[in-house]
């Protein structure tokens, strides 16, 4: 079927994009696993010897060396930001699952029923999905501003003696950011479900009605189960987006660590910028993220490719 020339062309068509993905996505992903077992400040190369052979003396930079599981031990037991970050990521995910996703689904169901004005609702709700998270972080600062902001002015807490510092107070700022994140996530989920709802065979609904099911039963017993592929996509998007959360925190904290807003993604980045790079330790945190994210990724891949593999 294929001429020799066609074969060469086919190899190039696959090979060049594959090379890019391999070199700049998969190689770094694997490299972070390796680097997580090393200690390296980024100065000089990495020697394949145990770090115990290089006693650290003040003033003399230690070369990169094998560090065993020490980075993991440090992260889990000795790094004050680690468990708060895990907790915050978990809260982020929980809020997405409990609030943003059902809200988005509700929007979609209502709009799908062809309520009057649906197109306007859909367009307006959808706007935040187009905006960058950096921009979202900036415009919400106006809402949360302690002295001048919308919320404090409305609730009368904008005087210097009774200010609420929504974005600075470590007990509040995560929740304040989660409102911003849901503002974007809910309509995102809405769009995905709208596509799913359109694809549901109308005769299924018809049959349910004939059988005497009410709207609530029709949705949960008939429509929702047939949207299984979309449900999985939404689940994956939800988990991945809550692991990726970074931009809002960076903008809100002006690029500095801010108490209350520790996230795994933010900690990773803190270890590669600045004077002292901790490549090994940063990679360790990256691997933790990798392991967690492989769960939803596997679920999605199983769902997406299982039919073809048969």
């Amino acid at each position: 079927m294929l001429t020799r020339r066609d074969k060469v062309v086919a190899v190039a068509m696959l090979g060049i994009p594959l090379l890019l993905a391999a070199a700049f996505v998969w190689f770094p992903a694997l490299a972070s696993v390796f680097l997580s077992f090393t200690k390296w400040t980024g100065v000089g190369g990495i020697k394949l010897q145990s770090c115990q052979n290089f006693p650290s003396a003040p003033g003399i930079p230690q070369p990169g060396c094998l560090y065993g599981v020490q980075n993991y031990v440090q992260a889990f037991t000795n790094y004050p930001d680690f468990w708060p970050a895990v907790r915050h990521n978990a809260i982020w995910l929980a809020v997405f699952i409990v609030i943003a996703t059902p809200l988005g689904m509700l929007f979609a169901v209502i709009i799908d029923r062809g309520l009057r004005g649906s197109r306007i609702y859909q367009s307006v709700l959808f706007l935040p999905v187009m905006l960058s998270l950096a921009l979202i972080g900036i415009i919400w600062e106006l809402i949360y501003s302690p002295n001048f902001g919308l919320i404090n002015t409305v609730i009368g807490r904008n005087q210097n003696d009774n200010l609420i510092d929504w974005l600075g107070d470590p007990r509040l700022n995560l929740w304040a950011l989660l409102v911003e994140a849901c503002w974007r996530q809910a309509p995102y989920v809405m769009v995905l479900y709208l596509a799913g709802l359109k694809a549901v065979d109308p005769s299924l609904r018809e049959a349910a009605v004939v059988d005497g099911a009410n709207a609530w039963q029709t949705f949960w017993r008939v429509v929702f189960p047939t949207m299984r592929p979309i449900n999985i996509v939404v689940l994956v998007v939800t988990v991945i987006e809550s692991l990726r959360a970074f931009d809002l925190v960076y903008i809100t904290s002006k690029g500095n660590p801010l108490r209350g807003l520790e996230l795994l993604s933010v900690l990773v980045t803190q270890n590669i910028v600045g004077e002292t790079q901790r490549i090994g330790f940063g990679s360790t945190l990256g691997v933790v993220l990798l392991v967690i994210s492989l769960v939803p990724i596997s679920i999605f891949l199983y769902q997406a490719f299982r039919r073809e593999a048969r």
């Binding site: 079927m1 890019l20 990726r244 980045t269 939803p296």
Partner: protein
């Protein structure tokens, strides 16, 4: 269509009214942050410092927009966005459609593993790979005419490369699914006529994929334009940053004038707002393509 509507369970009037009220309240809530930002950006800082943001306006002025534009060389950041986004989108779509074509038309044993590899890569949180990637970028030299830094790090080329590599996965996934639905008859007829693989891809199949390519182009352009993370971590020179990531610097530069920051952010949103107004259908189609097959 009429049968479809008639088949739906008829909602009682009360439910409809409740739904209507709920949607009106939500829509108003949703639009508030944007309208509020616009309102603040239109007012002088001296006024809002005295009265707060939530107050009746004495003056409405475009001064903040003008100042944000001139005092920060904003045109330069926009130009950076163009330098990065345009080539990145074209290369992503070109590369992804090549892979998608081969995978959907030729029966290789490795097609499924390959698709899985591409798709999974796109789902990784970028922070998983950033640490090694950062070192790789510091280690790859580039000639001076491509990169002022002499490295892949801190260069437009570097930013293009990572955006392409990362977005390829999603586009390969979508396009290979799409191409499987494109009829193969013409393709097969062309084989008999002796057309080469490339001709069949470029002249026959790709034109049939225009709807999917248009939807993906809209989606990926918006995503790459909105990218913040790669530019923050892989570009160290402030004035090389595309506009979205430059907002972080502008926030520092205009720290005493939140109204001007809001104006700058809204200026940065103009391209996405244009897409929102003109190409919303394409954008949604792109998202739906990605999830429909799932």
């Amino acid at each position: 269509m009429t049968t479809v509507t008639a088949a739906r369970p008829r909602a009682p009037r009360l439910t409809t009214a409740a739904a209507q009220i709920f949607m009106i309240v939500m829509t108003l809530l949703w639009v508030t942050p944007i309208v509020f930002a616009l309102y603040v950006a239109l007012r002088p800082i001296t006024e809002t410092n005295k009265l707060g943001y939530l107050s009746l306006p004495r003056h409405l002025t475009l001064e903040n927009f003008a100042n944000a534009w001139t005092q920060s060389d904003m045109w330069r950041f926009f130009l950076n966005s163009v330098y990065v986004t345009v080539p990145a989108v074209l290369l992503t779509l070109f590369g992804a459609s090549m892979v998608a074509y081969v995978v959907s038309r030729l029966a290789f044993w490795f097609n499924i593993p390959l698709l899985i590899l591409f798709t999974a890569g796109n789902l990784l949180p970028p922070q998983v790979i950033i640490t090694p990637l950062y070192r790789i970028y510091l280690a790859i030299p580039l000639p001076d005419w491509i990169s002022g830094s002499g490295l892949l790090y801190n260069s437009y080329a570097g930013l293009i490369v990572i955006n392409v590599s990362f977005q390829l996965g999603f586009c390969v996934f979508v396009l290979s699914n799409y191409m499987k639905t494109v009829p193969t008859d013409i393709d097969e007829a062309a084989v008999i006529d002796g057309a080469t693989l490339w001709t069949r891809f470029w002249r026959i199949t790709l034109p049939l994929c225009r709807p999917a390519l248009a939807a993906l182009a809209t989606l990926v352009t918006t995503w790459i334009y909105n990218d913040f993370f790669w530019a923050i971590t892989l570009i160290s020179t402030g004035n090389k940053r595309p506009i979205t990531s430059a907002l972080a610097n502008l926030q520092g530069q205009f720290v005493a004038n939140q109204n001007m920051i809001a104006a700058a952010a809204l200026i940065a949103a103009i391209p996405t707002l244009l897409v929102y107004v003109l190409l919303q259908k394409q954008f949604i189609a792109g998202l739906s393509l990605g999830s429909a097959k799932g």
